[in-house]
């Protein structure tokens, strides 16, 4: 009993140290940041490697750290397929989106659309899509945070954990803006990478750094089957858990094309001085994210080999595989460290989501749709964003508590990626590269992409015992639907202004002429 309390305390102290460090950063950011560009885009003065770490921090959520480690620990190779998709997706970001987005936009994804299309309808539609993606993703993270903290720090209840996470993310965003949020991401990414490096090192040490021996141990993993029988499986074989390949393909499409449409990732490219730095930051992010996902080999498969699926199931379940492995290999202090890292991971991701949702509401909806593109009073845009961050925080705390810890929310992350892939990416690419493209195409694509993703999820196996739609992720169908709507809306209407503006957009997207500049010191 005493041991339990002490181990809880170590995790708690380590977490409080992280919170203290981030609050100091928030304090200094708040003193530094004034003006919209400072608040929404950190003054566009973040460097390439800093933004690379921040993108990685925004992206590597608890789902990827705890979820993938757990999936590999329980069922082997199939879980590793997720790791692959999460990294390859960055080629879409690098090749097609990051640089033109930085050159043409100001604070949000909708800026790229509003450049040549009728601003009010496209900003309204893009804002709805941004808020939807951010809220889905956020609720999944909040519920995950509550469940996790309850397991990691004894004595803290689900509700207290959710409220705590919610208050902290609102404090970072309201007071520190993009600069504080960026540094929270950077610290979290460094902690996560260090933690996984050390965990991987401890796993390999157990195998005397002999990779052959490590992989051999994975070919015969024993566990208890569904009917109480003992089964021995080769964890390097595909298909141990995923029986329908179309599920994997649909999920792969959501990851590959959705990452480049995730609003909280896209707005990170506005924090750097120019498109070249945006390019460099994607490459930094790819190195960090790739290194992390390769390491899931060691701590995911390592948990399967050294702990075994039965042990993981009996000690906190799938999501606790990585922390439990840390406890067994590194003792209570390392367990506490990995637990604190997991919590920091969630906190950083929800802060990134909060600022993307509030930026879109303030910049796209409030200033540009309701107030016709002008602030009525100076500083109004930032003020509205701060209020929105507060409302978003309160709403997600409320929803997470209402849903409770028992609800399975993993599908919400898949849904967020599906909406980003089916609604956001097609219209953004069409706006950048298709001369004929127009407002009807954008609103049609965003609307159909969003609604078809949500509609298909509602009739999928996650919601129905006898599902009408057989796949867990809707992307395989919703992406083509989004594309068809984008195309149909465009060819069925004509918009001269959009075609004329294409010249300016292309020159600006490809050369950076007239792009937003970093603020002076």
């Amino acid at each position: 009993m005493i041991a339990v309390v002490q181990q809880g305390n170590t995790a708690l102290w380590m977490f409080l140290a992280f919170v203290a460090a981030t609050l100091v950063i928030t304090y200094f950011s708040a003193r530094k940041s004034s003006g919209a560009s400072a608040y929404f885009a950190a003054g566009r003065r973040i460097t390439g490697w800093q933004n690379g770490l921040a993108v990685a921090g925004d992206y590597m959520s608890a789902a990827s750290f705890l979820g993938i480690a757990g999936m590999i620990a329980m069922n082997g190779y199939d879980g590793f397929l997720y790791s692959v998709g999460f990294l390859v997706a960055y080629l879409t970001v690098l090749f097609l989106v990051a640089e033109p987005l930085r050159n043409t936009g100001k604070y949000t994804m909708a800026d790229v659309l509003a450049f040549r299309l009728s601003p009010k309808p496209v900003r309204a539609a893009a804002s709805v899509s941004t808020l939807t993606v951010s809220l889905f993703y956020m609720i999944a993270q909040m519920v995950g945070a509550g469940v996790l903290v309850r397991q990691l720090i004894p004595g803290v209840s689900y509700e207290v954990a959710v409220v705590g996470v919610g208050i902290l993310m609102v404090v970072y965003v309201v007071f520190g803006g993009m600069l504080a949020t960026t540094w929270v991401q950077i610290i979290k990414a460094v902690l996560l990478i260090s933690g996984s490096l050390f965990l991987s090192y401890l796993v390999l040490q157990k195998f005397h750094f002999d990779l052959g021996q490590f992989f051999s141990s994975l070919t015969a993993i024993s566990s208890t089957g569904p009917n109480g029988e003992t089964m021995t499986r080769n964890f390097l074989h595909p298909g141990l858990i995923f029986k329908n390949p179309w599920d994997q393909i649909s999920l792969g499409m959501a990851l590959l094309f959705g990452t480049a449409g995730l609003p909280h990732i896209l707005i990170r490219f506005y924090t750097v001085p120019d498109a070249k730095t945006a390019r460099a930051s994607v490459v930094w992010a790819m190195l960090i994210i790739g290194a992390f996902y390769i390491m899931t080999t060691f701590f995911g498969f390592g948990a399967a080999s050294l702990l075994g699926p039965d042990y993981v199931k009996a000690n906190g379940g799938t999501n606790m595989a990585a922390p439990e492995l840390a406890r067994v290999l590194g003792g209570e202090v390392f367990f506490a460290f990995i637990s604190a890292v997991a919590f920091a991971t969630i906190l950083a991701v929800v802060a990134g989501l909060t600022i993307s949702a509030s930026t879109s509401f303030a910049h796209d909806f409030f200033v540009n749709v309701i107030h016709h593109g002008k602030e009525h009073r100076p500083g109004e845009e930032v003020k509205v964003a701060r209020i929105t961050a507060f409302v978003v925080g309160a709403a997600s705390i409320g929803i997470a508590i209402l849903l409770g810890p028992a609800v399975n929310v993993a599908f919400l992350v898949g849904l967020a990626f599906a909406v980003a892939a089916s609604a956001n990416l097609p219209v953004m690419l069409a706006s950048l590269f298709w001369r004929r493209f127009n407002t009807a195409g954008a609103v049609g694509g965003l609307g159909v992409g969003l609604l078809s993703s949500i509609g298909l999820i509602l009739v999928s196996p996650d919601f129905m015992k006898e599902p009408i739609f057989p796949l867990k992720n809707p992307a395989l169908v919703s992406i083509p639907l989004g594309l068809i709507a984008t195309w149909l809306g465009t060819v069925l209407s004509k918009e001269k202004a959009s075609e004329e503006k294409f010249v300016e957009l292309t020159v600006r997207a490809q050369t950076g002429l007239g792009a937003e500049k970093a603020t002076e010191h």
Binding site: Y77, D78, F80, L81, S83, V84, G85, L87, V88, Y90, L91, T92, L94, F95, L96, G212, F215, S216, L218, T219, N234, L236, H237, P238, G239, F242, N244, P245, W246, Q248, I249, G252, L256, K276, R279, A280, V282, V283, M286, L287, G290, Y293, I294, V503, E504, T506, V507, R508, Q510, T511, G512, L513, G514, K517
Partner: protein, 105 residues
């Protein structure tokens, strides 16, 4: 010369067309390649399990090595892109200088 005129002049400039063409020559085939290479993995895992289970290096099988190769493929294409983009940056700089537009503006 206002911004609209300058944009139109750049857009009509053969050097700009050449810059865009060079970008497309790398980006389009590379995108096609990584999409096909990526989806080959779930296709092979789902429909060709025997091929994927073949052991190549000790007990390490095709499935794991194929997945690992995706990481190397991704990094390789990223560095190819960065290398090519350095050339695009030079062309872009010369083009803007010729038109009299400073990218710092």
């Amino acid at each position: 010369m206002n911004r609209d005129d300058r944009c139109r002049r750049i857009f009509r400039d053969p050097d700009f067309a050449e810059l865009v063409r060079r970008k497309a020559t790398l980006i389009l085939p590379a995108t096609l390649f990584f999409v096909i290479y990526y989806f080959a993995l779930p296709v092979a895992a789902g429909w060709f399990p025997e091929f994927m289970q073949k052991e190549i290096w000790g007990r390490v099988n095709v499935a794991y090595l194929f997945a690992l190769s995706q990481f190397l493929m991704t990094w390789g294409l990223a560095f190819l892109y960065v290398w090519a983009a350095a050339g695009w940056d030079r062309r872009e700089h010369q083009l803007l200088k010729k038109i009299g537009a400073d990218s710092k503006e």
